[in-house]
Amino acid sequence: MARLQSLRDKPGTAREYETIYILRPNTPNEGVAEVNARIKSVIEGQGGKIIKVDNWGKRRLAYEVAKERKGIYLYWQYLGTAGVVEETERNLRMLDSVIRFLTVKVDTDVDVGARPVEIDETSFEKAATTAADEEDMFLHRGGDEPAGDDDDDFDFPNLDAVEGSKE
Protein backbone atom coordinates (compact mmCIF):
# COMPACT_ATOMS: atom_id res chain seq x y z
CA MET A 1 0.00 0.00 0.00
CA ALA A 2 1.60 3.21 -1.10
CA ARG A 3 1.34 5.87 1.56
CA LEU A 4 1.22 9.59 1.36
CA GLN A 5 4.59 11.22 1.46
CA SER A 6 5.55 12.41 4.90
CA LEU A 7 5.16 16.13 5.47
CA ARG A 8 8.63 16.24 6.96
CA ASP A 9 10.19 15.45 3.57
CA LYS A 10 10.62 18.05 0.89
CA PRO A 11 8.18 17.35 -1.92
CA GLY A 12 9.66 15.43 -4.82
CA THR A 13 12.51 13.97 -2.81
CA ALA A 14 13.11 10.53 -1.38
CA ARG A 15 14.87 8.99 1.58
CA GLU A 16 17.89 6.82 1.26
CA TYR A 17 17.82 3.50 3.08
CA GLU A 18 20.16 0.61 3.64
CA THR A 19 18.84 -2.84 4.34
CA ILE A 20 21.00 -5.75 5.35
CA TYR A 21 19.55 -9.21 5.74
CA ILE A 22 21.12 -12.47 6.77
CA LEU A 23 20.16 -15.75 5.12
CA ARG A 24 20.73 -19.24 6.40
CA PRO A 25 24.19 -20.47 5.38
CA ASN A 26 22.84 -23.49 3.53
CA THR A 27 20.74 -21.35 1.18
CA PRO A 28 21.70 -22.28 -2.40
CA ASN A 29 22.37 -19.58 -4.99
CA GLU A 30 18.90 -20.09 -6.48
CA GLY A 31 17.39 -19.52 -3.05
CA VAL A 32 19.33 -16.29 -2.64
CA ALA A 33 18.21 -15.18 -6.11
CA GLU A 34 14.61 -15.95 -5.17
CA VAL A 35 14.72 -13.78 -2.05
CA ASN A 36 16.49 -11.02 -3.96
CA ALA A 37 13.93 -11.10 -6.77
CA ARG A 38 11.14 -10.76 -4.25
CA ILE A 39 12.74 -7.84 -2.42
CA LYS A 40 13.53 -6.18 -5.73
CA SER A 41 9.93 -6.40 -6.86
CA VAL A 42 8.71 -5.13 -3.48
CA ILE A 43 10.98 -2.09 -3.52
CA GLU A 44 10.21 -1.27 -7.13
CA GLY A 45 6.53 -1.95 -6.61
CA GLN A 46 6.53 0.69 -3.85
CA GLY A 47 8.14 3.24 -6.13
CA GLY A 48 11.64 2.77 -4.74
CA LYS A 49 14.84 2.99 -6.70
CA ILE A 50 17.59 0.49 -6.02
CA ILE A 51 21.08 1.96 -5.90
CA LYS A 52 23.23 -0.93 -4.86
CA VAL A 53 23.01 -4.65 -4.22
CA ASP A 54 25.89 -6.53 -2.70
CA ASN A 55 26.54 -10.00 -1.43
CA TRP A 56 29.03 -9.94 1.43
CA GLY A 57 29.40 -13.68 1.30
CA LYS A 58 29.15 -16.21 4.05
CA ARG A 59 30.30 -14.81 7.37
CA ARG A 60 30.69 -16.17 10.85
CA LEU A 61 28.04 -14.74 13.17
CA ALA A 62 29.21 -13.22 16.44
CA TYR A 63 26.56 -15.26 18.22
CA GLU A 64 24.02 -17.90 17.35
CA VAL A 65 21.00 -16.67 15.41
CA ALA A 66 18.14 -19.09 14.74
CA LYS A 67 20.49 -21.98 15.57
CA GLU A 68 22.95 -20.92 12.88
CA ARG A 69 26.61 -20.05 13.41
CA LYS A 70 27.09 -18.55 9.95
CA GLY A 71 25.02 -16.48 7.58
CA ILE A 72 24.95 -15.05 4.08
CA TYR A 73 24.88 -11.26 4.26
CA LEU A 74 23.01 -9.26 1.61
CA TYR A 75 23.38 -5.51 1.46
CA TRP A 76 20.89 -3.25 -0.35
CA GLN A 77 20.89 0.48 -0.82
CA TYR A 78 17.81 2.18 -2.21
CA LEU A 79 15.76 5.34 -2.40
CA GLY A 80 12.13 5.42 -1.42
CA THR A 81 9.39 7.22 0.39
CA ALA A 82 7.80 6.22 3.67
CA GLY A 83 6.19 2.81 3.34
CA VAL A 84 8.90 1.10 1.29
CA VAL A 85 10.68 -0.08 4.41
CA GLU A 86 7.46 -1.24 6.02
CA GLU A 87 6.59 -3.41 3.04
CA THR A 88 10.15 -4.68 2.55
CA GLU A 89 10.47 -5.72 6.18
CA ARG A 90 7.05 -7.35 6.16
CA ASN A 91 8.22 -9.50 3.26
CA LEU A 92 11.55 -10.32 4.88
CA ARG A 93 9.71 -11.45 8.00
CA MET A 94 7.70 -13.91 5.93
CA LEU A 95 10.70 -15.57 4.31
CA ASP A 96 11.97 -18.57 6.19
CA SER A 97 15.54 -18.37 4.90
CA VAL A 98 15.95 -14.84 6.32
CA ILE A 99 17.16 -15.05 9.90
CA ARG A 100 17.87 -11.38 10.62
CA PHE A 101 17.42 -8.01 8.94
CA LEU A 102 18.14 -4.38 9.71
CA THR A 103 17.15 -1.22 7.85
CA VAL A 104 18.89 2.08 8.44
CA LYS A 105 17.84 5.49 7.16
CA VAL A 106 20.99 6.99 5.68
CA ASP A 107 19.77 10.30 4.30
CA THR A 108 16.66 12.38 3.78
CA ASP A 109 15.55 14.74 1.03
CA VAL A 110 17.54 12.99 -1.69
CA ASP A 111 16.99 14.12 -5.25
CA VAL A 112 16.06 10.85 -6.95
CA GLY A 113 17.34 11.85 -10.39
CA ALA A 114 20.70 13.14 -9.15
CA ARG A 115 21.67 10.06 -7.15
CA PRO A 116 23.95 7.83 -9.25
CA VAL A 117 22.83 4.24 -9.52
CA GLU A 118 25.49 1.59 -9.02
CA ILE A 119 23.63 -1.41 -10.36
CA ASP A 120 23.55 -2.91 -13.84
CA GLU A 121 22.24 -6.17 -15.30
CA THR A 122 24.99 -8.23 -13.73
CA SER A 123 24.53 -6.87 -10.19
CA PHE A 124 21.64 -9.12 -9.27
CA GLU A 125 23.41 -12.13 -10.72
CA LYS A 126 26.50 -11.33 -8.68
CA ALA A 127 24.43 -10.75 -5.55
CA ALA A 128 22.97 -14.22 -5.90
CA THR A 129 26.38 -15.89 -5.97
CA THR A 130 27.76 -16.60 -2.56
CA ALA A 131 31.51 -16.99 -2.47
CA ALA A 132 32.53 -20.25 -0.85
CA ASP A 133 34.20 -19.89 2.53
CA GLU A 134 37.08 -22.06 3.73
CA GLU A 135 34.80 -24.65 5.25
CA ASP A 136 32.86 -25.09 2.02
CA MET A 137 36.02 -25.39 -0.01
CA PHE A 138 37.30 -28.02 2.38
CA LEU A 139 34.07 -30.00 2.29
CA HIS A 140 33.80 -29.78 -1.47
CA ARG A 141 37.32 -30.94 -2.10
CA GLY A 142 36.58 -34.02 -0.03
CA GLY A 143 33.30 -34.69 -1.81
CA ASP A 144 34.48 -34.13 -5.35
CA GLU A 145 37.34 -36.56 -5.15
CA PRO A 146 36.70 -39.69 -7.13
CA ALA A 147 36.19 -42.55 -4.71
CA GLY A 148 38.67 -45.37 -4.42
CA ASP A 149 41.72 -43.58 -5.87
CA ASP A 150 43.27 -43.13 -2.47
CA ASP A 151 44.26 -45.83 -0.07
CA ASP A 152 43.22 -43.93 3.06
CA ASP A 153 39.84 -43.02 1.63
CA PHE A 154 37.07 -44.22 3.91
CA ASP A 155 35.15 -45.92 1.16
CA PHE A 156 33.60 -48.89 2.90
CA PRO A 157 31.72 -50.56 0.03
CA ASN A 158 34.89 -50.69 -2.07
CA LEU A 159 37.11 -51.79 0.77
CA ASP A 160 37.40 -55.37 -0.46
CA ALA A 161 38.10 -54.29 -4.00
CA VAL A 162 40.85 -51.93 -2.93
CA GLU A 163 42.45 -54.57 -0.78
CA GLY A 164 42.13 -57.08 -3.56
CA SER A 165 43.90 -54.83 -6.03
CA LYS A 166 46.77 -54.30 -3.67
CA GLU A 167 47.65 -57.93 -3.48
Binding site: I20, I22, R59, L61, A62, Y63, V65, G71, Y73, Y75, R100, L102, V104
Partner: protein, 92 residues
Protein backbone atom coordinates in the same frame (compact mmCIF):
# COMPACT_ATOMS: atom_id res chain seq x y z
CA UNK B 1 26.28 14.19 55.25
CA UNK B 2 28.58 11.27 55.17
CA UNK B 3 30.52 12.28 52.08
CA UNK B 4 31.12 15.86 53.06
CA UNK B 5 34.84 15.74 52.40
CA UNK B 6 34.60 13.69 49.23
CA UNK B 7 32.06 16.06 47.71
CA UNK B 8 34.71 18.74 47.74
CA UNK B 9 36.62 17.08 44.93
CA UNK B 10 39.01 19.81 43.87
CA UNK B 11 41.51 19.49 46.66
CA UNK B 12 44.64 20.23 44.69
CA UNK B 13 43.31 23.50 43.43
CA UNK B 14 44.03 22.93 39.76
CA UNK B 15 40.44 23.45 38.80
CA UNK B 16 40.15 19.97 37.36
CA UNK B 17 38.76 18.01 40.23
CA UNK B 18 40.34 14.87 41.49
CA UNK B 19 42.53 14.12 44.42
CA UNK B 20 45.61 16.06 45.36
CA UNK B 21 48.92 14.44 44.71
CA UNK B 22 47.89 12.89 41.44
CA UNK B 23 49.07 14.69 38.33
CA UNK B 24 46.15 16.03 36.32
CA UNK B 25 45.85 13.73 33.32
CA UNK B 26 45.16 15.45 30.07
CA UNK B 27 42.48 13.73 28.10
CA UNK B 28 43.76 12.29 24.85
CA UNK B 29 41.28 13.30 22.22
CA UNK B 30 40.02 10.84 19.68
CA UNK B 31 41.21 11.62 16.19
CA UNK B 32 38.57 12.55 13.68
CA UNK B 33 40.13 10.13 11.19
CA UNK B 34 39.25 7.18 13.38
CA UNK B 35 35.79 8.54 13.98
CA UNK B 36 35.12 8.97 10.26
CA UNK B 37 35.65 5.23 9.89
CA UNK B 38 33.14 4.34 12.60
CA UNK B 39 30.30 2.59 10.83
CA UNK B 40 28.05 -0.27 11.86
CA UNK B 41 29.20 -2.18 8.78
CA UNK B 42 32.87 -2.25 9.76
CA UNK B 43 33.23 -4.43 12.86
CA UNK B 44 37.03 -4.24 12.64
CA UNK B 45 36.95 -0.52 13.50
CA UNK B 46 34.28 -0.94 16.17
CA UNK B 47 36.30 -3.66 17.88
CA UNK B 48 38.67 -0.99 19.14
CA UNK B 49 35.78 0.53 21.14
CA UNK B 50 34.73 -2.64 22.91
CA UNK B 51 36.62 -4.88 25.29
CA UNK B 52 37.50 -8.49 24.59
CA UNK B 53 34.37 -9.35 26.49
CA UNK B 54 32.30 -7.24 24.14
CA UNK B 55 31.55 -4.41 26.56
CA UNK B 56 31.78 -0.76 25.52
CA UNK B 57 34.98 1.03 26.51
CA UNK B 58 34.03 4.10 28.57
CA UNK B 59 34.85 7.43 27.03
CA UNK B 60 36.97 8.38 30.00
CA UNK B 61 39.39 5.80 28.60
CA UNK B 62 38.81 6.05 24.86
CA UNK B 63 38.89 9.86 24.96
CA UNK B 64 35.74 10.29 22.93
CA UNK B 65 33.58 13.35 23.43
CA UNK B 66 29.95 12.88 24.38
CA UNK B 67 28.86 13.37 20.78
CA UNK B 68 31.50 11.01 19.48
CA UNK B 69 30.58 8.37 22.01
CA UNK B 70 26.97 8.61 20.87
CA UNK B 71 28.02 7.95 17.28
CA UNK B 72 30.10 4.99 18.41
CA UNK B 73 27.43 3.41 20.60
CA UNK B 74 24.84 3.68 17.82
CA UNK B 75 27.20 1.92 15.45
CA UNK B 76 28.02 -0.77 18.00
CA UNK B 77 24.34 -1.41 18.71
CA UNK B 78 23.57 -1.83 15.03
CA UNK B 79 26.55 -4.07 14.50
CA UNK B 80 25.39 -6.22 17.43
CA UNK B 81 21.95 -6.58 15.89
CA UNK B 82 23.54 -7.93 12.72
CA UNK B 83 25.73 -10.37 14.65
CA UNK B 84 28.83 -8.56 13.44
CA UNK B 85 29.79 -7.83 17.05
CA UNK B 86 28.98 -9.92 20.10
CA UNK B 87 26.66 -8.71 22.85
CA UNK B 88 28.89 -10.49 25.32
CA UNK B 89 31.68 -12.98 25.22
CA UNK B 90 31.65 -15.53 28.00
CA UNK B 91 35.02 -16.96 28.75
CA UNK B 92 36.14 -19.78 30.97
Amino acid sequence: MRNDIDDNMDRDGDGRGGKAGRAPTRRKALSSEVLAKVDYKSPQVLKSFVTDRGKMIPRRISGASAGQQRIIITAVRRARMLALLPFSVSGE
